[in-house]
Symmetry: C2
Subunit: 252 residues, 2 copies
């Protein structure tokens, strides 16, 4: 069933008012009529089967029929901090990362990031990304839309990461042949309900200085298999492994 | 160190002859000179550190100096059969799938594939894909370049899959709430050295008829987390989970 995330102010007692792009999608793309059913998601994660009771000039009115139980959210919260990559790779990371269950994304200006985002450029990008997360959340049947933060510097990011339960960063150099715990061991020590902060380097990886700072702030360097992954593949590996570990390996 | 896959006929006793695109890459892009070192991969998986002994008009001659031990190949062989997707998604699957360790790719014409590949179109696509696998193998430091098969029908694919040790297909409908083993349970029963055949549906998934045929040929339906993944994300989830399971969860 088609799913729409509806902003909090559009929920009024037993009715949901659907406007803007979703109004267009319902009336023009899906060509829904009165009495057709759809799923409306509240920003707090609840989801309801609703029935269209009226199509007005600028809004669709739907009546709540049934609460949907169950959740498609990862049992652990995962924040992906991504060193600014080149081109449109961030869009791929955000779209696929949303499908794979990320709770939030933080773009950050890494030493080896070639691009710089500022002012208007950043604003425009964040607007585009918020559209991508909404669409990918609807498509993948998530209960919540991931947050996208403003771009941070490494020091802002280290401060942001402080309250997290577990912090990791894929780092080929450090992880190679070291005595540090493997990615599997790190995940084995995490419990459902905890929060993971994963920091991914841009093309060219982290500078030695960045790696030092991460380690001194409690980040574990991890290996994602013995192959060298492109930056956009690393985030997807981290999320797919966390889903596999907590959702498919344990639930037997 | 820069890595090049060199065809078998270009290995002669202690010398390797590098031609065509790689010749161009070495002389124009990397601007290597005599005595510079690079890694040459033999199609059988062996890799050597070599030293450039001469740059001629159409070829670079390199002398073998040292065999590289160790392998970046997955301990299980994974074949990805991918229902033909729209647009250039197959390129993404092949590039990322190579980084993540796939042994081979089989494009197949699924019931719900919207595109049809034939004759010249297929030939051109396969040529492009073989370039992508070579570049992604070099970039990710693999020992072998994955194979790309000609497009198959489902019945050809079922025949091809017969000798494999374990066969899976992500199938939301079948896996939901069923008593079948989870993806984690399936992987736990696989031993290093065995071969996995993973069959991924196109946009819109498998038709019920295709799912029936797969099941009757010994394929296990599996779930890849509770979210609905786009077709191109499914292959990457399968490969990342297999890498995590065999390379990062076990090696503690």
């Amino acid at each position: 069933m088609q799913r729409y995330f509806v902003p909090q102010e559009n929920w009024k007692s037993e009715q949901v008012f659907i406007t803007n792009d979703d109004f267009h999608h319902i009336t023009r793309v899906m060509r829904f009529k009165e009495d057709d059913s759809l799923i409306c998601n509240h920003p707090d994660g609840r989801a309801y089967i609703c029935e269209i009771s009226g199509i007005e000039k600028n809004q669709v009115v739907a009546v709540i029929r049934e609460k949907l139980e169950g959740s498609a959210e990862l049992p652990v919260g995962v924040t992906i901090a991504q060193g600014l990559p080149k081109g449109d790779k961030m869009e791929l990371i955000i779209q696929k990362g949303t499908e794979l269950g990320a709770a939030s994304f933080i773009p950050f200006q890494a030493d080896r990031s070639i691009v710089v985002w500022n002012g208007k450029k950043m604003e425009k990008k964040l607007e585009r990304y918020s559209k991508i997360t909404k669409e990918a959340s609807e498509q993948s049947h998530r209960n919540k839309i991931p947050n996208i933060h403003q771009t941070m510097s490494l020091s802002e990011l280290l401060e942001e990461s402080a309250p997290y339960d577990v912090k990791i960063f894929p780092y080929e150099e450090e992880a190679k042949g070291s005595q540090r715990p493997s990615f599997g061991k790190v995940l084995k020590d995490i419990h459902p309900g905890q929060h993971i902060f994963a920091c991914i380097g841009p093309e060219g990886g982290f500078s030695p200085k960045e790696a030092e700072q991460l380690i001194s702030h409690g980040f574990h360097p991890v290996r994602l298999g013995p192959r060298i992954l492109r930056t956009e593949t690393a985030a997807l590996y981290v999320l797919a492994s966390i889903s596999y570990h907590f959702e498919e390996l344990r639930c037997q």
